[in-house]
Amino acid sequence: MNPEQFVEILNDWNAGAVLAWKFDRGELTVEVAPEQIVPLCRFLKSEQGFIRLSAVTAVDRYPMEPRFEVLYLLHSIEPSRRLRVKCRLGGEQPEIDSVTCVWRSANWYEREVFDLFGVRFRNHPDLRRILLPEGWKGHPLRKDYPVTGEKYTYSE
């Protein structure tokens, strides 16, 4: 199945779901609105065979707005194909729905994106920092966070 056919299928499921798409270097990237992410992921998992969520990650495009791109890397084993779903979020308090209701593996990946970028995931069962200590202030992978770190004082 070629990329155009796949985007057709997504548009048949929900017209206008796909805001933009790109097939580059052998990989298909589909951009959707943040509100659509949970229904789209349910559709992809149950009807299109993307039973595995490889990872949820993010890219900070500061100072461009919308600033954050949340990426969902999906994988179907039979037939073997991969898909990247992209959602752009902006603003000071970026929020998006969690997909832990679709794949349990999203749990730790979304915690990592929250920890390092500050993107909140609504309805996440346990949204707290995962890699950094609990009292840490700031989100290190943001482009405006200095490489050598901000002056850190332990809270207690």
Partner: protein, 384 residues
Amino acid sequence: MTLNMGPQHPSTHGVLRMVLELDGETVTNVECDIGYLHTGIEKEFEQKTWQQAVTLTDRIDYLCPLTNNLCYCLAVEKLLGLEIPLAAQWMRVLLNELTRINSHLVWLGTHAMDLGAMSVFLYCFREREDILRIFEMFAGQRMMTSYFRIGGLALDPPRGWQHAVKKFIDAFPSRVDQYEDLLTNNPIWLKRTKGVGYAPLEDLLDCGVTGPIIRAAGLAWDIRKSEPYSSYDKFDFDVPVRTESDVYARYQVRVEEMRQSARIVKQALEGMPPGPWKADAPHVVLPDREKMKTQIEALIYHFKIVTEGFRVPEGEVYQVVESPRGEMGYHVVSDGTSKPYRVFIHGPSFGNLQGLPLMIKGRLVSDAIAALGSTDFVLGDVDR
């Protein structure tokens, strides 16, 4: 009772903290607390040039450094659209499979030692010494080799490498027989690993587990076969699969993988094609030293590459390889400059640890140790 299996513990294979809630000897709940090895490698990637960043990749999954190098180099070469010569691809396969054997030897040694079989550890590390000597011959470094670079290999293979690799690989299958003699039909080993740490396949896939654990649960999924990279489709090897999905099945899968890796190394050694070890791309690959001293174009290229670094066209790529632990992926985003814009590392152990509660909840504490060992995680992968 809440028991803290703290970050400092001989059986957690690294700095993993697990908070176990126990009812007598049965584990009722387990929570993993990670982040003790977090060093901000992903942020570091954004500060280095593309070629300098290869040295960062070794340290992520430090038991299979060459596999990390390979994944990152393949991702950037995909972004650049670079063609790697066959000889370099075959050499990458050979060294990658030696790394797989290396990693499985460490796993077997430490796992057996956790369960009480102390001598297996020494036998495994005897073989590992030979492999590390081979790496030292090639790259000058035993562990953090950074031998694969964007464009091919860092250095030409040393004189006499065929002899050293042949000597090791001819002796290796009989060594694996020795480990199997000690463990496979050993009644204590069977009692401690058969039926222990069972988890069903769908739950494991849903939790993000990959690699030998999935193959031990019945699904023949190996990225070297399903999404081949670096000439793996030219090699003849089997993918071991078991269905019991317990610690013993994972042990059998990994031991068989060691044998299959030895098979691949032998094929690579015997069939190594002639040719250059680096790609023909003067704006990416450093020129030959003699050329650099005598030709002005080579000198200019050398200067540009070393001071500014080469630029990679804009785009994003997610490259996956089959590491000894599962699906290792590098999601590399470029904005057209000479430094990476964002590199996300999908470490297989991050997903494998999410599946750990499935194997441990409701079982005995000592079975938890066996299941932990069978997961074969490396904290560098998890925390980066």
